[in-house]
Symmetry: D2
């Protein structure tokens, strides 16, 4: 089930950057989830390119729900979302047909699809596809919020600049809502944007690290060996071509800690079992422990830069130089947050549906 993700709630993505449309089918959605089009549009807006550090390709992202919704609510049958591609300039990509961009999927797609792939604009590997994922995630996330489950993501790091850590989770999550470049500390934000804009001006690109938190997930969610919360979340996150690292809680920081420093001790707080620290990011043995779920996602710099690069001509098997034209993103880290939020929503909802049954998500209505 290569292009479908999830067990009880499953999402299938389709589409190419310069094809007719992109879209998603969500299967296993409970009946009775409200379709709030403004909420979905707001999530799509968080993903939209804006300003100098984003591609000049600006799509309206008008989504159409062609099935699975009726009278403003989900029906419980597969919900298909369609987003037409309207701003395509195929001519931009003719040069890339035989000369793959370094670190992009042009070369691996050519090998895997034996030359039949839609090479225009990265085809199925384009970040464009994530618009459908964000729309699908938004429908689910809206229902999760009605259940008290909230998700927030900020740019934790960008080329040497580090944002402050999450503090008051409810407030921080609210503060990030709808913001184009989601950073908690204003100084860090200004510094990050400056670096990204400078890189853009030089025809270069930047990556970064996103930090996410999910609050409100009850203890007991996750399936050890092999569908742990960490495993399933990481699986979905690594589907995004730009993602190259995922860590939970202290993550790689555990390598330099002793058990006596890293262990999260238990206490009773307001009649419930909590931990004093949250180094495990809310997950023990792959199962949620009721603390906030925290994870970080490493995003590589966008490979499509405007500087001259060495590559090969795949047809002629010769080395050559490549200077990319067209419309590309010098930074996607801030837009990627909408994708990470969507993936978190889909994954958590799927795990909860397994535990509580498929109807659960729609029952608040």
């Amino acid at each position: 089930m290569k292009n479908t993700f999830g067990n009880s709630i499953a999402v299938t993505l389709f589409g190419e950057s310069h094809g007719e449309a992109i879209g998603a089918v969500i299967d296993g959605l409970a009946p009775g989830i409200k379709i709030d089009k403004d909420y979905i549009s707001a999530r799509l807006d968080e993903r939209k390119p804006k300003g100098k550090i984003s591609t000049a390709r600006r799509e309206g992202d008008e989504f159409e729900i062609v099935s699975g919704a009726f009278n403003g609510y989900t029906t419980g049958t597969p919900l298909a979302i369609l987003i037409r591609n309207t701003s395509t300039k195929s001519s931009d990509y003719a040069q890339l047909k035989d000369t793959p961009r370094p670190s992009h999927a042009d070369y691996t797609a050519e090998i895997k699809y034996r030359g039949y792939q839609d090479y225009r604009g990265g085809g199925h590997f384009s970040g464009r596809i994530t618009a459908a994922l964000v729309a699908a995630g938004a429908i689910i996330r809206y229902a999760l919020e009605a259940k008290g489950i909230k998700i927030g993501t900020h740019v934790l790091r960008l080329h040497g600049i580090t944002d402050r850590a999450f503090m008051n989770l409810d407030e921080d999550i609210a503060a990030l809502n709808g913001v184009s470049f989601p950073v908690l500390d204003d100084g860090a934000k200004a510094d990050m944007m400056k670096i990204a804009e400078d890189a853009a001006e030089r025809g270069d690109s930047v990556g970064g690290v996103l930090e996410s938190v999910i609050i409100g997930v009850p203890a007991g969610v996750g399936e050890p060996w092999f569908d742990t919360l960490e495993g399933v979340l990481a699986h979905a996150l690594f589907s995004v071509p730009a993602v190259k690292g995922v860590e939970f809680g202290l993550g790689f920081g555990f390598a330099d800690a002793y058990g006596s420093e890293a262990n999260d001790e238990f206490v009773i707080k307001d009649g419930a079992i909590k931990t004093t620290t949250n180094n495990n990011g809310g997950i023990n043995g792959g199962i949620s422990n009721g603390m906030p779920i925290t994870f970080r996602t490493a995003i590589k710099p966008t490979p499509s830069i405007f500087k001259k690069q060495s590559t090969v001509n795949m047809k002629e098997m010769t080395e050559c130089e490549l200077e990319i034209s067209g419309r590309h993103d010098p930074a996607i880290i801030h837009r990627a947050r909408a994708v990470v939020d969507a993936i978190a929503a889909i994954t958590i909802a799927d795990m909860l549906a397994l535990k509580y049954g498929t109807d659960w998500l729609g029952e608040s209505n």
Copy 2:
């Protein structure tokens, strides 16, 4: 399919630390794969506790293949491996029934399984279960080696000490083979072992980072959206309770690099397309590009330490102190390499079977 992993080749794990037996069923194995019992034992040996930094529980790990093999070869039908538990001391764990160990799965298991879980020795969450995974992985890895695909893992970092990077991959992989504490640089190895032994003496524990490489995987393996090579590998790796981070290539290091620094440029080498650097860890767009696949796995310090810790009594809902007795590992980082190797073998074989068909893996015989 919560406790089964894989599509074309699928592994199901079962067992508890102090139950009758642990085991694995491998489905989708090609017929005709040679069962080399010495090779499997050698892999199990790499996982076995040894010396002062490991648990005093020493099992023979005698495995029995009860189905799916005939006359020394796989039959193509499900292969079931059984490893009996022989060295169990249930009494060690009576104290833990109601007082969960900090950062272990005792608490989440109690919530998830509503008190019915086998709490002895961590039950299904015990590292013991990984013996079955290592045996299953060994059968597959043997067949992969016959196809020229090799896997190697070393301890890259342990509490401030860093091993040297991989250099000559063939030689390094060979040098790590069968070694109990797999570090490439002898000085780093001595330093790491000293730190681990010191921690053990203090009743404390250490974590670390493993670095792995897979060579010989052809370009074109992986399924974008959502079964990318990265996603599937990470999913399986995060199943191991101790794993808290996974990164590919530069991983989190991408956050501080510009695209112009991070991109892997293409060249022609010996008539084949290669990249000059390998910052992407052999994977672009979720698909192998023919370069070595490199990834790092963060392992948290084992939570079962002998120091006094704060916890709660889940029955009485009171706070209390916990001093663990019994047999535990001050370090598992070196033993975890056998598990990571096994997971890598299973995952890669599954992706290759999807591409080439299920018979492919057995065809070298």
Copy 3:
């Protein structure tokens, strides 16, 4: 994965009878399969309502391939097909909202979807959805034919009338191609159509039995316990709401035969192993044996009849009478053959992809 079918090649269906559109996503299609739009239209035409024994709703069934195809060939990424609903008369169905049609899915949908289902025209349970399945199957079937695998289905029985058995398979399959009411014997065909038309005139409906044959499938395809050829085919066939029985080879006829009569003895024919009879329908132990695969599918009479029937008002929990108006099919048996052919194509291709790898199906181009 409730609304997705298949392992290596997976089809997801979406849509409602009176929604915006119906459609399908095919995942796992090999790159390089030719998209022959005329061939697809011809298959859709075999499914279209025609004449007096079909619904007055006549859709153009204009399909749009919105992703996964490029320059006339499949790309290897998910292929999404969209068919807009153009001839909808929602008013026809207002009366059915609370008074379920006997033997239709109105009642079970109300219970399952808690009142949120799109009740218009049977919603997701409408035969309309099969148009997308037929289009998806056609793309795959075209590729199978290039591999020498052919599928044919005729109406074997309709209310007491029985068609002749398959004889020369190649000729019979060719003769059924494109025919609206597929019966091999002209006399039987006339009799069947007369019965169906008479029933239509009385406001009644008829069912029937379809008999199908698949030729060219090599021996060795199928996965025992549990993905047998029989099991997977039956699973997909029973997805169609009207299907109530599936049998292979002698099927229920085996009940009255001795083993000595029923066994298919082996012979050598043209240097290959064949059987003298084919009572097992080309399948032994769930695996193809190289003989033609034969199966029969029982189709119940369409439940939407124009006669007065007893039903209940679900809201008021009272008994009442129902007289249906609107557009319905007195017979779907002849149209169902296109659906059975599509399901056979999808299923066989999936099993072959598992055996030979996902690229196999596109390799004839």
Copy 4:
């Protein structure tokens, strides 16, 4: 997931007729299901060969639960069942290595597994494997009974003799419990046994039709397109090598009925919506409607007969004659009922777990 069946509750089967052991792993079992060993043994006993019409191979079927159970209850982690093979006579099968039995899986296994299969006693295709399935089903069925869901199966037809239909379902199900040759009418039973014994004496074999009923399943269970109740049940039933037909309700009888005769009209009965007839076998649109679920399963005569048959030598590619010795079943129809009951239990439980969540099945304890 070829040898694993189920979504929320999944069963993996392993083992060969003459290997070390057969077994099953059940994943997704709720914690807290009581393990009633006597109940499981009683179900295994219904499957055991007895009398003149069964194989002389008589196994004790001592099952061992090696994981997933603790203190007499399921833990919620994978439950593995092991049944050792004790009565094996491999010598019986040496003659069959190259000369496949007509209508058995010997030939297709040779092709599929390229000669590596364990050919002794039919290997993985042996009816012996079903013992593990029956044990797995028994654990689940016990829990279903605590929820008011009961299953019963009788031999409806055997070579011209027909049993009476189900009447009082509760009483009939109780009457079939533990009976070796489950027929409701004593006269029909005597006639059937006579025919089977006569066939046995002649070295021949018989098939038959099983009829099953499941009561207590609430309305609303089943997932249209594609995991309908009918599709999932049929999929699992057709996994059994001897099964060649499955029908629900009127099944193939629908072919000769008009809609006005076949439709099940709705009525209010005891405050609940019921149907006056049950021609649809309790399922509309693939979803349970609250009426008893009824289906029939066609079982072909056992292919291993003692009469001389024509076959081929696969190695030498010559035709030859075959006279089987060894231990075989002249009739399995009565033993197959235990298998059908087990499959029904597993399938229904899986569908209910999807609807109500995985914990549901264990909650009566």
